[in-house]
């Protein structure tokens, strides 16, 4: 059978157990008070909990404040171009089933310049986890309107207040065919970690939107969902499928129309898993194509397969 040769040592010592120190790389360049610090800490915690081997961590990001993420994680990483982290991660995920592929980015990367890729990765159900750190503003370029800026938000490109209807991330993600869609808040670390852990364990395209405040350009943006700032953090009650008396009222995460309905709730809306289904991943589909094709050529080497192809052109 023709397959790609992989060179690696026959036996490798297990990597030292990961702790925060082993996982930390550069000190984050984020502004003091930025919500993204909590996202990073939460990610470290989950990676440790899940016992992911060090060399199998691969973080990929585009451009933006949050997209600096790979520099702050001591793991294999890519700092790619604006909006295209998902298609690059596609190549990594599809060809390297041994890796844990994480994409980190912001609302600009995910919903504006890279919006098209999000739709297609979701429908193809690529096996990777995408964390969107949504701060409702362009921070790295210093306060322009973002695709999630609320109407009326005053920015340098909309000094009179943003006019365009913002993207509804949950509605967009659920509608696009993503198989795991969750929403959390950077100030709710336990909830955030729970969402990350479930997303990583999910086989397929899992997305978590984290409301992560930009304390410099959009201070107080998510106070309405922060009990410490006088807001509320209402959780989605998930159906347990037991006979408990109130279970019928809880949210069925496999129900697409109910997930959309949840997404339509007025600000600040609810938090938790909106949608979660299992569907064949593109990774599995491609592996099946390979298995079928290889079954047909039997034990032929790559040279024999190609020679046969040439023989057909004689």
């Amino acid at each position: 059978m023709s397959s790609i040769t992989i060179k690696r040592p026959e036996a490798i010592e297990p990597a030292p157990k990961l702790d925060k120190k082993a996982l930390s790389a550069d000190h984050p360049t984020w502004c003091p008070g930025c919500g993204d610090f909590a996202v990073l800490a939460s990610f470290f915690k989950v990676v440790q909990n899940l016992g992911i081997p060090h060399e199998q961590i691969c973080t990929i990001a585009g451009i933006g404040c949050s997209s600096r993420f790979p520099y702050f994680v001591n793991g294999h990483g890519v700092h790619y171009i604006h909006g295209r982290a998902i298609p690059l991660a596609t190549g990594v995920s599809l060809s390297r089933p041994d890796l844990n592929v994480f994409v980190f980015g912001g609302d600009g990367d995910g919903f504006s310049i890279g919006g098209n890729h999000l739709e297609h990765a979701a429908r193809k159900n690529l096996n990777l986890t995408y964390v969107i750190m949504d701060n409702f503003v362009y921070g790295l370029t210093k306060k322009q309107t973002s695709p999630t800026s609320p109407v009326g938000f005053k920015s340098k490109t909309d000094p009179w207040g943003a006019q365009d209807e913002p993207v509804n991330p949950m509605r967009k993600l659920v509608a696009s065919g993503a198989t795991f869609v969750a929403r959390t808040h950077a100030a709710q670390v336990n909830h955030m970690s729970e969402m990350f852990e479930r997303a990583i364990k999910h086989p397929g395209f899992s997305v978590v939107e984290v409301l992560s405040e930009c304390v410099v350009f959009f201070k107080g943006s998510f106070d309405a969902a922060n009990p410490r700032k006088g807001g509320e953090f209402p959780l989605i009650p998930e159906k347990q499928w037991d006979d408990s008396p109130d279970d019928w009222k809880a949210h069925d995460t496999t129900d697409l129309s109910k997930a959309i309905k949840l997404a339509e709730e007025p600000w600040p809306g609810k938090f938790g898993v909106f949608y979660e289904v299992e569907r064949t991943t593109k990774n599995a589909n491609e592996q099946a194509l390979i298995a079928d094709a290889q079954a047909k050529v039997g034990n032929a080497s790559s040279q024999e397969i190609l020679a046969k192809r040439f023989a057909r052109m004689r």
Binding site: T5, K7, G77, Y80, P87, G91, S95, A293, S302, F310
Partner: protein
């Protein structure tokens, strides 16, 4: 054309034409003109394959309408026993399916040439005595042979039978090739194809044609030959070069490469992904390459424009990648099914920033195979993106060439996940780039982030001006090291003389034929062909010194300053005012007479 060889092994076999003389020819240009849905590409392809199998040289040429379905289309085959380099300036034989085919292409027939036409459709002006007219009721005779539904389907095979008879081709082999071509389909399709073919073969031409052409038998090379088009050769070259992954987005004339790789690669344990757009395609390909699997993406000019930002990242992050541009007429949607070489500057300079990358161009169909292998080798060795500039003419034309010795050329890809040593540096200032793909244990404990930001030897971002200069030089010097590896291309023709023709890409054949023709007229001249366009092979200035005039022949516009794209590059590099341009942008390949006329514009070479 030479006269009949009395020793020809068998008498020409043309039914009912015992009185005809046989005539042996060195080569023949056959143009089949009809509509694209008539399957004339099929006949052309079969003829080309036959020629390849009988050691004859062959080259084909086709035009395809850019409309969704149908429209006038031609397929031209030039078969010969010598070296065939271009599809031919004039046809010896025209098969006209329709009135419009006749009207548009009769002018392409040489004087004394034969126009075989469908008498059910075409009313030729037989008073024009320059040509020989042969009426055959292609439509009704096919219907008679195969049945009512065959009207549009079988007449290509009927015409092929006729051609087989007129040129006394190896019928047995042709039938074998037809059977293989249609064999995998519904049984009735093959049966009807053979019925139509036999009917055409047996069609009594009487003494309408007083000559039966016989192609001079080619000297047996003893080597197995294959016949295919440039896109297929390129796809197979990538596989031979060890490329197992890729991603693309459909665009003419690149699509056949991605279609073939999509089907072929899974057999080798790889995959080709159809992406949502050009940006995603190159990004996914870069993802494969970053993951340790050298990958390919491709497109035509418009798609290349979209890939440019990612290409700059590949240069900066030093990720190996192969990018194929099957050039077509531009700018914008331009002439999507015509040929042009107007993306050279884009290939070399088309991104933002100082963005060195390698640019190669295959000279013919066979070279599409070998250049893909070379591109893979260079991409791996120097961790650099490599662009291959093919073009529409190369992509679709069929040529016969010696079957490659796969044992010699095949590269088996290896994904190296051995632990990286503690002193690992991805971007050492004094050595080649060495990536540790994800999955690699970093013995030193520090894991690499591959970035588009300027970085130090460890890949760590820095905006230190000194380092930016050093790293810019480092990325450029990779190409200088490649340049030092390259050999000055061989000169074809006189070692010194009056004129040197310089070409790149698919102009190879016609330029070489122009040199042969002009040398026969006593002129001292030569041609040199560049396969490496960035960096160029060293030593060109010494070659240029040996000729009085240097003409760069290319299919692009002469620009504001009167020079085509390669000529501009050569002038800026060598500051040599002898370098001038012969350019054209009519969307068709160069004819030999056009090259000669181009030279004539500067210095009189024809009487």
């Amino acid at each position: 054309m030479s006269t009949a060889a009395p020793s020809s092994p068998s008498e020409p076999r043309v039914s009912g034409r015992h009185s005809v003389r046989s005539k042996t020819v060195d080569d023949a240009v056959i143009r089949i003109a009809g509509n694209s849905q008539d399957g004339i590409q099929t006949i052309g392809g079969l003829l080309a394959r036959l020629a390849g199998r009988t050691d004859q040289d062959v080259i084909t040429y086709m035009t395809i309408p850019s409309t969704i379905s149908g429209g006038p289309s031609i397929f031209q085959v030039r078969i010969g026993s010598g070296e065939i380099l271009s599809p031919g300036d004039q046809a010896d034989f025209l098969v006209a399916f329709y009135e419009h085919s006749y009207k548009s292409h009769i002018g392409f027939l040489r004087e004394g040439g034969i126009c075989l036409y469908d008498s059910d459709e075409v009313k030729p002006d037989t008073s024009d005595k320059r040509f020989v007219y042969v009426p055959v009721p292609l439509t009704s005779a096919t219907v008679e042979a195969v049945g009512g539904t065959a009207k549009d389907r079988g007449k290509n095979m009927f015409a092929l039978g006729l051609l087989c008879s007129v040129f006394d081709l190896d019928r047995e082999r042709l039938v074998e090739i037809i059977s293989r071509q249609f064999g995998s389909k519904d049984e009735s399709i093959l049966r009807n194809a053979l019925l139509a073919f036999d009917a055409g073969y047996a069609y009594p031409l009487g003494d309408i044609l007083d000559l039966a052409f016989q192609l001079k038998p080619a000297t047996a090379s003893g080597k197995t030959r294959v016949a295919t088009d440039g896109n297929t050769a390129m796809a197979l070259g990538l596989i031979a070069g060890g490329v197992r992954h890729g991603a693309g987005y459909p665009i003419t004339p690149w699509s056949p490469i991605m279609e073939q790789l999509r089907v072929e690669l899974p057999q080798y344990g790889g995959m080709f992904i159809q992406s949502e757009d050009e940006l995603a395609a190159i990004s996914t390909a870069l993802g494969f390459s970053y993951a340790g699997h050298l990958a390919v993406t491709g497109s035509a000019g418009p798609g290349l424009s979209l890939k440019m930002e990612a290409l700059s990242w590949a240069t900066m992050a030093e990720i190996p990648l192969i990018v194929i541009n099957v050039q077509r007429g531009g700018p914008s949607t331009g002439l999507p099914t015509s040929v042009e070489q107007s993306d050279l500057m884009q290939a070399i300079y088309g991104s933002h920033g100082d963005c060195p990358r390698v640019v190669l161009a295959p000279k013919d169909v066979e070279d599409c195979f070998y250049i893909a292998i070379e591109a893979a080798r260079i991409a791996r060795k120097y961790s650099v993106p490599v662009i291959i500039l093919s073009d529409q003419a190369l992509s679709s034309r069929i040529e016969a060439f010696t079957e490659p010795d796969l044992a010699k050329v095949m590269v088996e890809p290896v994904l190296d996940l051995n632990p990286a040593p503690a002193e690992y540096k991805p971007y050492p200032l004094n050595a080649e780039t060495r990536h540790a793909p994800p999955g690699t244990r970093m013995t030193g404990g520090t894991y690499p982030v591959v970035t588009g930001l300027e970085h130090d030897e460890m890949g760590h971002p820095t905006s230190n001006p000194d380092l930016h200069m050093k790293m810019t030089a480092r990325r450029r010097n990779k190409l200088r090291r490649l340049e030092a590896e390259l050999k000055t291309p061989e000169v074809y023709g006189d070692a010194n003389g009056e004129i040197l023709l310089v070409g790149w890409g698919s102009t190879y054949g016609p330029i070489r034929e122009a040199v042969t023709q002009l040398r026969e007229q006593g002129l001292k001249l030569a041609a040199i062909h560049l396969r490496h366009l960035h960096p160029m092979a060293p030593g060109l200035e010494k070659v240029f010194d040996r000729y009085d005039h240097i003409f760069v022949v290319e299919m692009n516009d002469e620009g504001v300053y009167g020079q085509g794209q390669l000529a501009t590059l050569l002038r800026s590099r060598f500051c040599n005012p002898k370098i001038r341009s012969i350019c054209k942008t009519d969307g068709l390949t160069f004819k030999i007479r056009e090259i000669i006329a181009g030279i004539d514009d500067f210095i009189a070479v024809t009487a």
